[in-house]
Symmetry: C2
Subunit: 627 residues, 2 copies
């Protein structure tokens, strides 16, 4: 039943197909106060003169110019003062020959008068005006329409409305203006397991929060569209069909992001085929291969996005956002792309265009370095590790280190982090980073952190424990933290040390092998083995769960808190913070070390200062000491 | 009573004083859907694991890894199929030794199982599962917390929220987030003569629409503040005082823009002195000398802006917007400044910093040229002629032609026009420009247009009439238009030609001397004089109002329409459009000529195409013909 699309479309064909969709919405009227950032839909001609009257442009006296002929300092003239005219009032006086009327800046020239003598060249004496200077017709008078004349072209169609255009429109008295309509973009979520943020989540039933709908909605808004989220239909396919029809009727474009359920995809297919036309299925790009493009009903277009968050945002940014911007009449912001050079060599040979998510970092000389992230992991965290996308064409086999590439940022508002750190997960570090200027920290563990520092991408690595390594690095500062075994609040199993863990059946939760805390535990186990005359392997075998490995410093403690484990590897600080018991096994140093080429980078210098000046942070945490 | 501020403050001192004002608003909670563009006020740590359960990452079968030991293509194993688990549902099956459960991507791993065999490596046979591949514990399983672990640092304070951050926040289930509050900025308008756009205007009473309030409100919004417009108090000073108190209580900052009334300024002075502190009065900048900075009440700051629209926006952009952005935590957008080179030499020697409004244009080689506009005219139209401001320091005597300057744009959204045209005002031209890409056209008249073209700033000039000139220019296209005398609909005075105007007392309205239409009229008068054997001067003396000069092509006709004049100089098209009578005096050519260095500029080529291809525009207008 499905149409056959044997060949994947090229990215260029996909762009053309999407550009051919009719998204352009009707012109709409918006209030002047909401017009900023919109695009004027029509030419605005002035319907009135500005000013609408002959206006005094100085404080002084309205006169007939002819009456002042010959007046000068040596030989002043006298005129009879017949009244005054203030700004914002209608003159109730006429200037007959031989008379003058006091007038303030902005006031209407009274009948008869054709010039203003500025106040500095006059004197009032006995109710008369003494004039010390002759004026010509029109002196200090701004005739009606001087600023904007009725009938004149004021602003053209396609003009982006910024504060200054708001000013001109106000001058014309307009309180609403015709602007390009913003395309309405429906977002349909199709996963049975998805729950809206803010609602209760049942993880035991496999529920997760809906990430793509909100990310894409924000992207739609940023591109000048109006996002409309539809409630999700769960596994009710009739309801899903109904929602798609509803969205097709209400929106200029409908987006959905990849469902894990093949049946859901079938429903979408069927609706697109029955109510519109499937234009394209499958594009030769990675990610995004299964991308679907079609029409839906009379007036709507449909684009199906991949399911992984970074992939969905990548495809949205590359193919969909430009179409929304076009429909809204908005230019691509200048800050939407950035040039940089590859920090590492990256091979690629899949024969289709790769949209490579990348992170950015600035090197010591201020150059932007680009490095690949998220190789298809699907992790949500990659969303904030990746700054944008590099499009690598199908015939490119590799990108050399140092090669210049263009990065399309995920948002024109994305700025590269000022500091890129990698390494151990630590609560004191997390607090320090609150004061660092725009940091990005990837908690990949001490071992992986050092490896990455050696590869030259990050500015700094954070290493816990005794880390003899051959990585060339400059120490910026250090502290110590107390580590050990986290147990329930009242320590029901009376764990007193590592030996108790080995000798019991207690369920233990370890950290991952990159963690400096796990390395420290391994060292302690080895020492205990030597003391007992056993092998390290024998001891490890006695610990139920030693091979488990959770990624974050609080995770084992949280497993204890929830009753999923009896003992967890962790920090005194964590145990205290969560109200759990703690059995100390020692102290370990945590060191912050920098790439030697980056020590003069401003953010690195700032981090060094922070480390030298943050005793209060360490004092506020249990088991911590600054060194 | 006023404090004496004998010396004007330096611009640096003004910046410091404004920076010292306490504008930073409290943290506020906003819905996730409104969070884009805001600045995170606090660190967000994950409160939960993502995913919150051990998750199958492929479609297949959940098994105990140990049970698959030794399985391969040649020697498959069989397991008993005991059920299935779908994404979004709680497993109702336990995987005992020797059994397997079907599982879909995203589903919860059932109790007992610790790995997934992907569907491609299995076969179902008689209700049993045939496994062709051994798996290790954890294969195709994403453990709880792999993506984000509870307790991990997710986002730091100061993070700008873009779509990707929205994604991470959704993953954490947050439907509202703490963001830096946006400073509330009150705008008080003080002119007696000001009327809000959309309301009725009484020009005869000297009323004009309020320009600054709306311009500044849009600027406040753009800088990340929340503008709050207060109704204006007219000339009721008690009411003005009351409004200032109200605004001081409700806002973080109160702005007003210069009133023409000295009394209004006095009221503001008094309120600032009584309820706060006057910190600064007068800054050594042009414009903006009388700028006022102070505190107002307990919590608000006050800044008084100049009255002319371009001056108000200049001072706002230079001194106030940075303070609002700081308070909102927003960085200065990268597009807020642009480099260019001076198109003309500009002298300046006033001994104080000049904030010079400038326009931008691109030359033939793509370089940005900068030229001064609005030398204190106060015209609202200057708002859309000026793109930004160049700060010229007090000790700079002149800027040389070609000198590089930095322009602070009036808005980060301002882009230089792609086409800069100057010259004659014409309705056909106005329609053509609707199709030109981002044009700016200054209707300065034919004569002034040619002068500016010679000076090298604009791309094109539009010249009406017989224009022998020594300006080196390339003609892009031309048309003719019928011109003559516009009279009331029924031509009550039976005007048949120029002679009737000379011989009558009819009130005539002319165009300005830069207009090609006026030059044409002058030529016709000279011809008539010769015919009659009189001097040109004698004929002109006979025309009541010959020396008047309105700026726009419709203005004289509108004067006739309103009864302010009996005859106006104009076009047949205008007379027809306004339903007036018309007495033809001839046809005149209108030519579009380009700067020879700009003919290859894309916008100029586009204009040439438009001229060649717009017969429909000329046909739709009365008395027009394309050439």
């Amino acid at each position: 039943m499905r149409k056959q699309f044997r060949d994947l479309a090229s990215p260029e064909a996909a762009r053309e197909t999407i550009a051919s969709l009719e998204l352009t919405p009707d012109t709409e009227m918006v209030a002047l106060s909401d017009a900023r950032g919109r695009i004027l839909a029509e030419r605005i001609d002035a319907e009135m003169d500005v000013p609408g009257f002959d206006r005094a442009s100085m404080d002084g006296y309205a006169v007939r110019a002819r009456d002042t002929f010959g007046a000068d300092e040596a030989d002043p003239l006298e005129l009879e003062l017949v009244g005054e005219v203030h700004a914002g009032t209608e003159p109730d006086v006429e200037v007959e020959p031989g008379t003058a009327a006091e007038i303030s800046t902005g006031a209407v020239m009274p009948p008869g008068a054709n010039a203003v003598v500025i106040v500095e060249r006059t004197e009032e004496r006995d109710g008369n005006l003494v004039v010390y200077k002759a004026v010509a017709p029109g002196d200090s008078v701004m005739p009606a329409g001087t600023d904007i004349a009725a009938g004149a072209r004021a602003l053209g169609p396609g003009t982006r409305i910024t504060p200054r255009e708001i000013g001109l429109l106000s001058a014309l008295g307009l309180d609403e203006v015709p602007v390009r309509g913003a395309p309405v973009v429906g977002i349909v979520s199709t996963g049975d397991e998805l729950v809206r943020p803010g609602e209760d989540l049942r993880p035991e039933a496999g529920q997760i929060y809906d990430v793509n709908s909100y990310t894409i909605a924000a992207g739609v808004e940023e591109a000048g569209g109006v996002p409309k989220l539809y409630p999700h239909a769960g596994d009710d396919y009739d309801e899903m069909e109904r929602l798609l029809h509803e969205a097709a009727a209400e929106c200029d474009l409908v987006l959905s992001s990849g469902s894990t359920s093949a049946s859901a995809v079938d429903v979408i297919y069927q609706v697109v085929e029955e109510r519109g036309e499937l234009l394209l299925h499958g594009v030769a790009v990675k990610p995004g291969k299964p991308m679907l493009v079609g029409t839906l009903g009379e007036r709507s277009a449909y684009i199906g996005l991949p399911g992984y968050p970074v992939s969905a945002l990548t495809i949205f940014r590359t193919f969909v956002a430009p179409a929304i911007r076009d429909a809204a009449g908005l230019p691509e912001p200048q800050t939407a792309t950035i040039e940089g050079s590859m920090a590492v060599r990256e091979r690629y040979a899949e024969g289709r265009t790769r949209l490579m998510p990348v992170g950015l970092v600035t090197d010591g000389s201020g150059e932007t370095l680009v490095y690949p992230v998220d190789k298809g992991s699907g992790a949500t965290t990659s969303l904030v590790e990746a700054d944008g996308v590099v499009e690598v064409h199908a015939d490119v086999e590799y990108l050399a280190e140092g090669e210049t590439v263009t990065v399309t940022l995920f948002s024109p508002d994305v700025r590269p982090p000022e500091l890129l750190g990698v390494g151990e997960d630590d609560p004191a570090l997390s607090r320090l980073l609150d004061h660092a200027p725009s940091p990005r920290y990837l908690a990949v563990g001490s071992r992986e952190g050092l490896r990455r520092l050696r590869d030259g991408v990050p500015d700094v690595a954070v290493v816990a424990g005794d880390s003899r390594s051959d990585v060339d690095a400059v120490e910026l500062g250090s502290w110590t933290r107390e580590w050990g075994l986290v147990v329930p609040a009242d320590n029901p199993a009376d764990v007193a040390g590592l030996g108790d863990l080995v000798d019991s059946d207690l369920r233990f939760v370890n950290r991952d092998t990159n963690s400096g805390l796990r390395t420290e535990l391994g060292t302690a186990v080895a020492a205990l083995a030597e003391e007992r005359g056993e092998t390290r392997h024998e001891l490890v075998e006695g610990i139920v769960g030693f091979d488990s490995g959770l990624k974050a410093f609080e995770s084992p403690a949280r497993a204890v808190l929830s009753g999923r484990a009896d003992v967890g590897l962790g920090l005194r600080e964590t145990a205290d913070a969560l109200g759990l018991g703690f059995v100390t096994l020692g102290e370990q140093p945590v060191r912050v070390v920098a790439n030697p080429d980056r020590t003069e980078k401003q953010s690195v210098r700032r981090l060094r200062e922070l480390l030298a000046d943050s005793d209060d942070v360490f004092e506020s945490l249990s088991g911590y000491e600054s060194e």
